[in-house]
């Protein structure tokens, strides 16, 4: 196991940011914490990256307990923060070199390691430019170089795709996959983007500080069962009642829309439209997505909370 989390809880004053979280992250997997802003991802990230103390529960990283073995853990993890951590007045090479010094790298080893990192991340021709002149995508690559310069066994990334254009996102994921397959690094990241989580080996869905689901993306989708049908209508409660009376199937109200999960969804669409031509304004049929998984587990839509609560 790369990371073991047991009964982890954390609160800021009155607000419970994490409650009773337990899960294991296996070695050499790409693991994503998915959740809306305010779901507890960032708090968890700060605990795992050793920035925040553990209030309740236990965390082991690479078999070492936090906070007892914090120095040992720090040597073995690489951290890429959401906020840029580059010194803009320094060049690419200086940023990497100064970071390396914090981990004890020096001399010939340091030089060869910097060369390697620049090569891996395609930064060799920008090595002596100040980071303030780089694009967002290139800066993120320098961040990755900083995070990997001491060859950590676990790389933690907080919302790594934020602020990147699609091309840079693809580059990022290619690099993460390469780290995993060639260097055996365990990758742990947080994201609020459903399509990004979909690329991970396993996903933990966090909502209001609680773990609501944990599995591979495919199995999570399969767990929703069948297809999802979403209907917009004037009076959802009435329609739900009528559907139940007529077909004896369960429908739920998800924030004003009627939602059904059924096998053979395409047949149901015509049945429903024929049965209730008046109240149905629109009807959509979809294969289950991670958003459906989220709705299924929490009873509300993924984006509802965005904007309501602060990221913590």
């Amino acid at each position: 196991m790369a990371i073991q989390i047991a009964q982890l809880s954390h609160r800021y004053g009155q607000r419970q940011a994490l409650s009773d979280l337990s899960l294991d992250i296996r070695a050499q997997e790409i693991f994503a914490f998915l959740g809306p802003n305010g779901g507890g991802k960032t708090t968890l990230f700060r605990v795992l990256s050793t920035l925040l103390p553990i209030q309740a529960g236990a965390v082991h990283i690479l078999g070492r307990k936090l906070p007892d073995s914090v120095a040992e853990v720090r040597r073995r993890i690489g951290v890429v923060f959401q906020a840029p951590s580059l010194d803009k007045k320094l060049t690419v090479v200086e940023n990497i070199r100064y970071q390396a010094a914090l981990y004890g790298l020096r001399g010939g080893l340091l030089r060869s390691r910097i060369g390697e990192m620049l090569d891996q991340l395609g930064l060799s021709d920008r090595a002596n430019e100040r980071t303030e002149s780089l694009s967002g995508g290139l800066r993120r690559r320098v961040e990755l170089a900083k995070g990997m310069i001491h060859r950590p066994q676990v790389l933690l990334l907080d919302e790594p795709s934020t602020g990147l254009d699609p091309g840079a996102r693809i580059d990022l994921w290619n690099y993460l996959r390469r780290l995993r397959s060639e260097f055996g690094v365990t990758i742990v990241l947080t994201t609020h983007l459903l399509e990004e989580a979909d690329k991970a080996d396993r996903i933990a869905i966090l909502n209001q500080g609680k773990l609501v689901a944990l599995d591979t993306p495919d199995r999570l989708r399969a767990s929703v069962g069948g297809d999802s049908i979403t209907i917009t209508t004037e009076s959802p409660a009435e329609l739900i009642r009528d559907i139940r009376a007529r077909f004896d199937v369960a429908a739920t109200d998800v924030e004003g829309r009627v939602r059904l999960e059924l096998a053979d969804g395409h047949q149901w669409v015509s049945k429903l439209v024929e049965a209730f031509p008046q109240p149905i304004q629109s009807i959509t049929l979809g294969k289950p997505t991670l958003e459906d998984v989220f709705i299924d587990k929490t009873g509300h839509r993924f984006w509802r909370e965005a904007g309501e609560s602060t990221d913590a």
Partner: protein, 294 residues
């Protein structure tokens, strides 16, 4: 080329490679010297900081020195007291140290806001090595700026021996170390540079004004007004007074006519000031602040 890359990859796969890498021990001193060097590199890449930290005090010195030339008179017996340009010189030197030291530590607020600090805080080095790097960097910048200004002392026909000069540089170093640590204590918990300017005006400028830099402490006499008595003690209890007096003593010798601590006292107080401020900075840096998470 291709072969070489493959071997590099091979080196890193599996647990063995990781074990090789763990032989590299993090070194707090390497971290501190690196962070110190970073301060210096950053400073000289921000030209306005260089100009501001030396330019303003020089301007002060010239304008006040020339402007106060006629009105300023030390209570000497004869008319052979120091001119104001001369009297004001050590104070200006300390002001340069103060400005530079303070502006160097403001950068901790920027480091935090720009996210640089986070990556230092999760590195396997103790907090004191981060602190030492910051304070040492600020100190060296401040001393370098002070030495530039010191060249102007030649215009005052100062004759200073090699030993006294070495002592002076050492005293500037210790004073700057104390002032940078003080700056760190103030800056560590601050979330914006605006707050720092308020502290600058409310604490640091009065501290400098009451250091004998600008005017000497009134003599203690029986029957003196309370305000004068308070002023005397405010100057006397201010640690910066001893930095200024030490510099003055080394440059111009003891001034007989005013209250003036002995050079040994200056050394002792300045050294204690440095030790105390660094200890305070160390204590405060060990605490987590909400700002760690900005």
């Amino acid at each position: 080329m291709h072969e070489m890359r493959t071997s590099q990859r091979g080196e890193h796969t599996g647990g063995e490679a990781a074990a090789v890498d763990l032989e590299i021990k993090p070194s707090p001193l390497l971290a501190a010297t690196t962070l110190c060097w970073r301060e210096i590199v950053r400073f000289f890449r921000q030209r306005n900081r260089v100009i501001g930290a030396v330019g303003q005090p020089i301007l002060f010195w010239l304008l006040f020195g020339v402007g106060m030339h006629r009105t300023f008179q030390l209570p000497t017996t004869g008319g052979d007291g120091p001119s104001f340009l001369q009297y004001f010189f050590p104070g200006t030197l300390v002001l340069i140290l103060l400005f530079t030291a303070i502006f160097a530590t403001i950068s901790i607020i920027e480091d935090r806001r720009e996210g640089f600090l986070q990556s230092v805080l999760v590195a396997p080095v103790p907090r004191w090595s981060m602190l030492l790097g910051k304070v040492l960097g600020g100190t060296l910048i401040a001393v370098a700026q002070g030495l530039i200004f010191l060249v102007l002392a030649l215009t005052l026909h100062v004759s200073i021996g090699v030993v006294a000069l070495m002592q002076l540089v050492a005293l500037l170093f210790v004073s700057a170390f104390a002032l940078t640590s003080l700056g760190f204590v103030i800056a560590w918990r601050m979330e914006s540079t605006q707050g720092f300017h308020a502290i600058m005006n409310l604490l640091l400028m009065p501290m400098w004004l009451l250091s004998g830099a600008f005017f000497p402490a009134p003599e203690l006499e029986s029957g003196m007004p309370t305000s004068q008595w308070l002023l005397h003690w405010a100057v006397r209890l201010n640690p910066v007074t001893y930095c200024v007096a030490g510099v003055r003593n080394l440059l111009f010798g003891a001034t007989a006519s005013i209250w003036d601590p002995a050079l040994t006292t200056c050394w002792l107080v300045t050294a204690l000031f440095a030790v105390f401020m660094f200890a305070a900075a160390w204590t405060i840096a060990g605490r987590r602040t909400t700002g760690d998470l900005l």
